[in-house]
Symmetry: C2
Subunit: 478 residues, 2 copies
């Protein structure tokens, strides 16, 4: 279905052209649905999604429980938290009619589920013994975007929003949960070989109704950053609004403290964008829908023998736990190579009559390397090659990111740096300095760095006012 | 969270009272969400859902591919197929506002996805080589129900609709697919030990826009039938409306033929209702979120030793592939038994100091049977007991259904039979006779039997007009 009328894939240097075209040519997303900002997942794309979210579920399930809350939120609940309304009221879709009737109470399509979940938490939380609560759900959410939409990145229906919502007895326990959530997101993106920037967003850019927001971003091929996860400490704002209270050990009623944190299909946009190349997707083996493609090289009269050998090779690898296909289509091998390279399959095994006679296989890595391996050792070779492939992906992605982060001193240098990636400046946390900085450089402040070891720790003068500042990331953002 | 203020569970003989109460007490569904007909899945209920839908996915994935289409359908697409509109227009929720703007084109929340999927199929299908297409998705769908809602059974948000949509070159291939779908649903419900009635719905009760509809029903504890799956042969109605055409081998354009078939969370309502008893859920081991609950019997000073033994027993069973919990709460054993019986856990293992000394475990089946087993043989005992448990569930459910199906000759007999279950009559397929039959008996015609071997095959005179008829099921329905 996908790719039938494809022209050549644009070079990745033309990132926007490459991105839009690869989603279709590799069978991830069809963008032709007759409503702007809504997309259709092709089966191959859905399989990629399944494996990516499989990792996320595995990590979440260690100390969270999965659940499911309704999509529709009554207007009166939605309108309870003042900051939250301000943040979302321009973006909410409203259901106003059922059949031929006008609804008495309009229903919002959840843009996020605080106002759907917290009225239930108010019923569920009674005692300190009920805490902590750590639930999550993976659902579709909706934003009436007025900006240009982009598949997987800026959508009107976010089809794959993983949102966690936790409740705790104290502010400090909620803070510890926010840190644990960042650890969890680190672990998730590590499995996808996606390097992260981790920053505390400036106050004016935090989640509506939160005490603070920590975000994880990655750098896309065009140098812009993409926010691919957020963690919010909600303090007791929502618990006061929705009446989420518990009886403490002394028998007194206390308001609870909360966090929430989310990841969307932007995680898949990151996998596609960070690892892909001019020939198509390059998928981490752990999430590749097809990990090994076997191409029988059929010449002349030994066709059946070759196909039989390919099928039995597949059976052996499948029983070893790999996702494997044999491409038996009646087209030339080159067309098959093109097809599976476009889809990012990590390893190709070619098998012809001469290979059978010699007891070998030709192994081609998605990066292009080619070697001969003994047929008998195929299982151990796969294990080794997948491991190497993953390491190489990670190293390449890490060095790509390192090359795009630049510590700068002045506005001009910052302006130049953000053409290519992220500028690190020192900033004093004041809004006025931020406004000047953004105006002079054309970048946006991501936030203050809390990501790690890449940046100098010693406070330096703010790039604008000269007062004491902290390392702050500045970039062009998606 | 669930069950905190529970009174005693009503007897199952009061099915309606029992059903509403057990959903809450067993931690399946919270029905207190502030919009009528929308429900919240508790974590335990969601885990049950995950295992049930895991079976469904496993069966579907053998020759279907999973995918995902948008929730929102533009009014112009939704309004294309005349029969379909008639069937759904009173039940559709409409999004009319985005932020503060009135939308140019109102958007329907899918009540089912034909009109979302088939415009894309029209783009995807080009040649006979593209066929068949067999895709499915598991999504939330919406019906503006005006009847009384009931959790998992009649909802305004159906949270778990598995819908498959297939495309074929000929009417006959679509018919074969419809039969394959029935086989698939048989296999699914067999895994859940739910016996089925399979009927062809009368023409006036078929899916809007279908050539014919086959439905699977089961009989609920109060004798009413519950439709738990439908399969529709769509002929070429939708392909003509949406322009789904392919080039055949002679190079001519042909309209395709289609089927669709669906299962919802009514499958879970059936598991709960058919197997449960006066003490709570009784879950088939394959879908039980907890298959084995270990209760350490803690007395006096050997507490640590007992808890340690319980944990190591759990570790052994978990590594053998079972879902196991140890209940270490500081409450009396009786309260633990009550708790886990309510949640339908198939097997309880009790373990105290004397059991440790003797090298045994006390094994209690959810049905009440109790025996001592050697600690060393716990793995093989589990395997055997789970198998027996499943067989017993199936036998009990089958005989329950057989006892509730009665072949009847006259209206009075039919009227009496449907108080308790399903009446089998002979009927001539004419609408007028159906109307009389339904009026005189108070039942509804499910359809003509195609389910199997339980019913007489020889045509007999129609119960109303005396012309030749076929075996037809009559019941009170949900």
């Amino acid at each position: 279905m996908p790719g039938e009328v494809a022209g050549p894939l644009p070079q990745k240097g033309d990132f926007s052209g490459w991105y839009n075209e690869i989603l279709w040519q590799a069978g991830i997303i069809d963008n032709r649905y007759p409503v702007k900002g809504l997309c259709v997942w092709y089966p191959y794309g859905f399989a990629l999604r399944k494996h990516v979210y499989g990792i996320l579920r595995e990590l979440m399930d260690r100390d969270h429980q999965e659940t499911l809350f309704p999509l529709l939120i009554p207007e009166n609940e939605f309108m309870k938290e003042a900051e939250h309304i301000k943040g979302f009221e321009d973006e909410v879709y409203w259901v106003t009619r059922g059949g031929k009737n006008q609804l008495d109470v309009p229903l919002a399509l959840r843009p996020t589920s605080e106002t759907a979940i917290y009225p239930m938490y108010a019923l569920w939380v009674r005692s300190h013994a009920d805490l902590p609560i750590r639930l999550y759900q993976i659902v579709n959410t909706f934003r009436y975007e007025t900006k240009a939409t982009k598949p997987l990145i800026r959508l009107r229906e976010i089809t794959s929003f993983k949102e966690a919502h936790t409740v705790h007895a104290t502010w400090e326990e909620a803070e510890a949960q926010a840190e644990a959530a960042i650890g969890l997101y680190r672990a998730f993106y590590d499995r996808l070989s996606i390097p992260l920037l981790i920053t505390r967003r400036p106050d004016w850019d935090k989640f509506p109704g939160a005490d603070y927001t920590i975000a994880v971003d990655t750098i896309m091929p065009d140098g812009r950053t993409l926010q691919i996860g957020t963690v919010h400490h909600l303090g007791d704002h929502f618990s006061r609004t929705f009446g989420i209270r518990y009886e403490d050990e002394k028998g007194e009623q206390q308001y609870a403290f909360q966090t929430c944190y989310g990841i969307s299909e932007r995680s898949i946009a990151a996998v596609i964008s960070v690892h892909g190349d001019d020939r198509g997707l390059v998928l981490p083996p752990e999430v590749a829908p097809v990990q090994v493609i076997i191409v029988p090289i059929i010449v002349g009269k030994r066709k059946e023998e070759v196909v039989e050998a390919a099928r039995s090779l597949k059976a052996e690898l499948v029983s070893a736990g790999y996702r494997v296909e044999v491409d038996e289509r009646e087209i030339r091998p080159g067309a098959k190579y093109y097809h599976w390279e476009m889809r990012g399959v990590p390893i190709r095994l070619e098998l012809g009559p001469r290979d059978i006679d010699k007891g070998v296989l030709t192994l081609v890595i998605r990066s292009g390397d080619k070697k001969e391996i003994p047929r008998k050792l195929v299982n151990s070779a796969m294990k080794e090659e997948m491991k190497l492939f993953t390491e190489n992906l990670r190293n390449k992605a890490d060095s790509h990111m390192r090359n795009r982060i630049k510590i700068v001193q002045g506005f001009d240098e910052a302006h130049d740096a953000i053409k290519n990636g992220v500028a690190v400046v020192s900033w004093c946390h004041q809004r006025e300095c931020a406004d000047i900085l953004e105006e002079k450089t054309g970048g946006s402040i991501l936030g203050t760095d809390i990501g790690g070891n890449m940046l100098p720790e010693i406070p330096r003068p703010c790039i604008v006012c000269g007062k004491e500042g902290t390392p702050t990331l500045l970039a062009r953002t998606f």
